[in-house]
């Protein structure tokens, strides 16, 4: 059991809280599900309570909610134009969900929902699914113009179309792996450095003195992870906006 304490992978383990099996699938309510619920409740409660007074002159919390709202709104409007605003609820909930999940994951002993590839991939698949469904519904087969850029010489066309198709197909992968890998790597690094502190301080006075360096690293990494938590939520939302723009305006 001593090994578990400094095992940097241990924090990503999923264990059922309420075992549940439906149709042969294990759909237990796990710690991951618990933190999804926590994420949703924290984000909803923050947005709901901070705007409850509907003040004309906002307080700090209301300002934060409004800033998040306008930040995502402007991001979407810049990337996809006025038409893109129909996807505002989707982009805003994605941004808030990823951001709050990332931030909650920074607390010690808390589970990081976004450190699991299946979660980020499901969110990315939701985005790409929206793009594909909306693109075909709106433009029919005109949506396929997405893969045929203007002004490319005929002999280059097969190559360019192949590249465009590959880039489109790799989008859900890159979108999900970026978020997943950032969260995973950050938390592993943090855990490894914190583990050094624990292991070194067990060695006596010299070890305690030597553990100052990894402790400082752990503090610095926590700050970095806070930045990464924001940055990855932002990147996820920005890329979502850009992909949605493709669904709205396939010919580029």
């Amino acid at each position: 059991m001593a090994a578990d304490k400094v095992d940097p992978i241990h924090q990503f383990q999923i264990h059922p809280i309420i075992p549940l099996h439906i149709g042969g699938y294990d759909v237990s309510f796990t710690n991951s599900a618990l933190f999804m619920v926590v994420t949703v409740i924290v984000a909803s409660a923050f947005l709901y309570m901070s705007t409850a007074s509907r003040s004309l002159i906002p307080g700090r919390l209301q300002s934060m909610s409004e800033m998040a709202y306008e930040f995502v709104g402007n991001m979407l409007r810049d990337a996809a134009g006025k038409q893109g605003m129909q996807f505002f609820p989707l982009v805003f909930s994605l941004f808030m969900f990823v951001l709050v999940a990332n931030l909650i994951g920074l607390f010690p002993y808390f589970f990081t929902v976004t450190s699991h590839i299946i979660v980020t991939f499901t969110l990315a698949a939701l985005v790409i699914g929206t793009v594909v469904v909306y693109g075909f519904a709106k433009h029919g087969f005109g949506f396929l113009k997405l893969f045929v850029p203007h002004g490319v010489p005929g002999y280059l066309m097969p190559l360019v179309v192949a590249i465009e198709v590959i880039s489109f197909v790799s989008r859900p992968v890159s979108l999900s792996v970026r978020l997943f890998a950032n969260m995973l790597a950050g938390h592993i690094t943090l855990k490894v450095f914190s583990g050094f502190v624990v292991s070194l301080s067990a060695l006596g006075a010299v070890g305690i003195a030597g553990s100052i360096l990894p402790l400082a690293m752990a503090v610095a990494l926590t700050a970095l992870e806070l930045l990464v938590a924001f940055l990855q939520a932002y990147v996820f939302a920005v890329l979502t906006c850009m992909y949605l723009n493709d669904a709205l305006h396939p010919s580029h």
Partner: protein
Amino acid sequence: MFVTSAFAQEAAPAAAEGETHAGTAVPAEEHGTFPPFNAETFPSQILWLVITFGLFYLFLKRVVMPRVGAIIDVRNDRITQDLDHAARLKGEADAAVAAYEQELAEAKANANKIGQQASDAAKSEAESTRKKLEAELEKKLGEAEASIASIKAKAMKEVGTIAEDTTSAIVEALVGGKTDKAEISAAVKSAAR
């Protein structure tokens, strides 16, 4: 004890095996693969993500976003309204300033006119007074000249009588006897000519 992650990973299966022998199957699965790539947890995670994220999406779309949007709209309306109000007030102030300046200009023009009139009136009065005085002086001068002329004429006439009287006296003294007054008068007149 200093434990590297490599050792931890080595140790994990051993511990898992030990536990499997003890009769608990679940930890063996947990330690078997890298947790994020353990496909056995996928259905549960997808299901719960769909449920939680779906509810989150609906809550934001139905409740939070209309509310925040309304707050921002109301504020923007209020700001536009206030700006309009300020612009209107500024317009009013500008109009008041313009009216004031116009009135000031009118008042100045009036004052100039009144001053001009007063000065003109004063000038013409002075002119008429001067003319009256000149006319009076002229008249007095004329009267004086007339009186000088009459005095001179009277004097000249009296010179004749004095000459006659003197002549008659001289004649009486030289010649003796009575003198004819008419004769003397004629003689004086001829001599005076």
